[in-house]
């Protein structure tokens, strides 16, 4: 972990006020280790989060980073093995029912009730949350209209398209006006048009002051939607902040990567002379590639090609990535982002 990342991650818990009013989500050293026959598997290794009410917060990380386990713990369906968490000021372990009353959850899987129609899915969910039958019918109609499911109201949940099912899942999570809305990979597996439509829905909800936590492995989704982001990998928060803060934190550098035909010999990275050059933050050699983090990227690529040629290495491919969440991830982990 880089110094900046450590600072950002360390800053996160201390900056939040005490759990309670105005706080949507708060965690302290939250952990989950799964017991397995061949040794324990740590899925979440001490996560500290602070999300004020009204914020749209994103957990960004590759598949298997521990995002779903984290959301599982916050929504009371996964029992933490360490640390604490509060949602809407309520401890998720001590009072799971209290938490469930105050949250709406859009699961990653399609967990619609397949035995029921679209309308019934909304009506019964409303009734589970204490609305009378007549009120539930009214609420269901309102949700169906708002989410553009009018012509599918009598369809069975099994007959919906992927996008319709996702809209119904979101509508269903909103029946009882939750204080905090959780969405686990809301647009995974959807076509681009449907994804943008869902983004619009989330933006409207956010504008209405809805507190939202979403997980995503799409960088552009996190960038397009979230007020703040926590970058997670291997069960840990690598950095947290706004997109701009994250980019600033890692120096807003362009990342230039050159891959050679063979392994990079020791000393080649130094021999390029790039390390000492102004505007270059970091030079890393890794197996067959050299990666340069530079705020002034001009000419770097040429230097790398020349240095390789001098050492008898031809270039297989080269890439230059402008400052983005992807470069942030590269900088934090030293690895390419895998979706």
């Amino acid at each position: 972990m880089t110094d900046i990342a450590t600072q950002l991650a360390a800053a996160a818990p201390g900056t939040g006020p005490a759990p309670g009013a105005g706080t949507a989500i708060r965690t302290e050293d939250l952990r989950k280790t799964y017991k397995a026959p061949r040794g324990d598997v740590p899925a979440v290794r001490g996560i500290d989060l602070y999300v004020p009410a009204g914020e749209l917060f994103g957990l960004l990380g590759p598949n298997g980073a521990g995002k779903s386990t984290t959301i599982g713990m916050l929504t009371t369906l996964v029992l933490p093995t360490g640390g604490r968490a509060w949602v809407a000021g309520i401890d998720v372990v001590a009072d799971p029912v209290g938490v469930k009353r105050r949250i709406g959850v859009v699961t990653q899987n399609n967990t619609l009730d397949m035995q029921l129609t679209v309308t019934e899915n909304l009506e019964f969910r409303s009734r589970f949350f204490g609305l009378g039958p007549r009120e539930a019918t009214r609420r269901a109609a309102q949700l169906i209209d708002a989410f553009g499911l009018g012509d599918r109201r009598k369809a069975m949940a099994t007959d919906l398209s992927g996008g319709q099912a996702r809209r119904l899942l979101i509508a269903r999570a909103l029946v009882h006006r939750p204080e905090v809305l959780f969405l686990d990979e809301p647009t995974a597996g959807l076509d681009p048009q449907t994804r943008v439509n869902l983004w619009d829905i989330l933006r409207v909800l956010h504008d209405q002051g809805q507190s939202i936590l979403l997980t995503t492995h799409y960088m552009e989704e996190a960038e397009a939607l979230c007020d703040r982001i926590a970058v997670v990998d291997h069960g840990e928060v690598l950095a947290a902040g706004t997109v701009d803060e994250l980019k600033e934190g890692t120096g807003a550098e362009t990342v230039i990567t050159v891959r050679y035909e063979g392994p990079v010999p020791d000393g080649l990275a130094m021999a390029t002379g790039l390390a000492g050059r102004p505007g270059v933050a970091k030079v890393e050699a890794d197996d067959d590639r050299i990666r340069v983090f530079a705020s002034e990227p001009d000419g770097v690529l040429g230097e790398l090609v020349t240095a390789g040629a001098r050492a008898g290495l031809t270039v297989r491919d080269a890439a230059q990535i402008k400052p983005s969440l992807e470069t942030v991830f590269l900088n934090l982990t030293g690895r390419e982002y895998r979706e």
């Binding site: 799964y34 599982g72 929504t75 009371t76 369906l77 996964v78 029992l79 799971p96 029912v97 009353r101 949250i103 959850v105 699961t107 899987n109 399609n110 967990t111 619609l112 009730d113 397949m114 035995q115 029921l116 309308t119 019964f124 969910r125 009734r127 589970f128 949350f129 204490g130 609305l131 009120e135 019918t137 009214r138 609420r139 109609a141 309102q142 949700l143 209209d145 708002a146 989410f147 553009g148 009018g150 012509d151 599918r152 996008g163 319709q164 809209r167 909103l174 029946v175 009882h176 006006r177 449907t194 439509n197 869902l198 619009d200 829905i201 409207v204 909800l205 504008d207 209405q208 809805q210």
Partner: protein, 308 residues
Amino acid sequence: MTSTTPTITPPAGDAGQSEPGTAAGIAALIAEAPVPQPTLPRTFAAMMAREFRVLRRNAAGTFMRTVMQPLLFVFVFTYVMPKIGGGVMFGSAGAAGAGSVNFATILVPGLMASMLLMQGIMAVTFPLVMEFSWQRTIEDRALAPVPIGILGLQKITAGAAQAFIGALIVFPIVLVVHAAGQAPHVHVTNWPMLALILVTASLLTAALGLLLGTVMDPRKMQMLFAAILLPATMLGCVYYPWAALHQIRWLQFLVLINPMVYMSEGLRAVLTPGTAHMPMWAILTALVGGTAVFGYLATRTFTRRVLN
């Protein structure tokens, strides 16, 4: 269905297309939401209402499932067999009991017990295995504002209701379908006791169904028939009274671990008091105690299974 919210804009432009929500409509959802007051009884009742809605929707399938088994059994054993000269009699051959009893009389309580088990398990275990499979639709209900244990109890209650109905369906069938002179001798003197036995037996099978649904590996569902349902039924005093097993002493003791025995014998005691049956205290202890033990174990394993 008309909406009471005037701010909702109908889909403009491509009418008929499923447009995603309008901003105003979605904003109104937040602003005009009713304030929910969930209480445990309300949520529980809503979940039961959901079960009955699904049962009503699948009425044809449910009816087939509950009627075919007793209908065919009764038809073969009390109509076909006596007609072709293979009628079975108990008592006349020296078995324990008070005098000669026709097979229909033996079969009525046994068949009801068998229906209880079958329906209890069908109603709870099969849907549960689906809910725990890869999409984990169980999470939908698990997010309702009640403890997970209550959700387990709700599943037992719903399953017991279906088992209860399944057992009652046996009555009209046995009274109508039989060969001349083969009518069962059913004579209820203690109605509250019949109700008690039916209710506890229904709860017991549903609790067993929940336990099986949570501990069984979904990929080994076919084992359910071979390892549980078939032995429980064949060795559950469905087709013979328990007392008649005194001829095979070891088996008479062995079957005591089978909950089915107490259901069959309990129903035998209240429906056909003329037949030999186990003492009532043993039956009630097993049914009530079994319900408590299986209910406790089932809700515990269910909770563990839902919460990772």
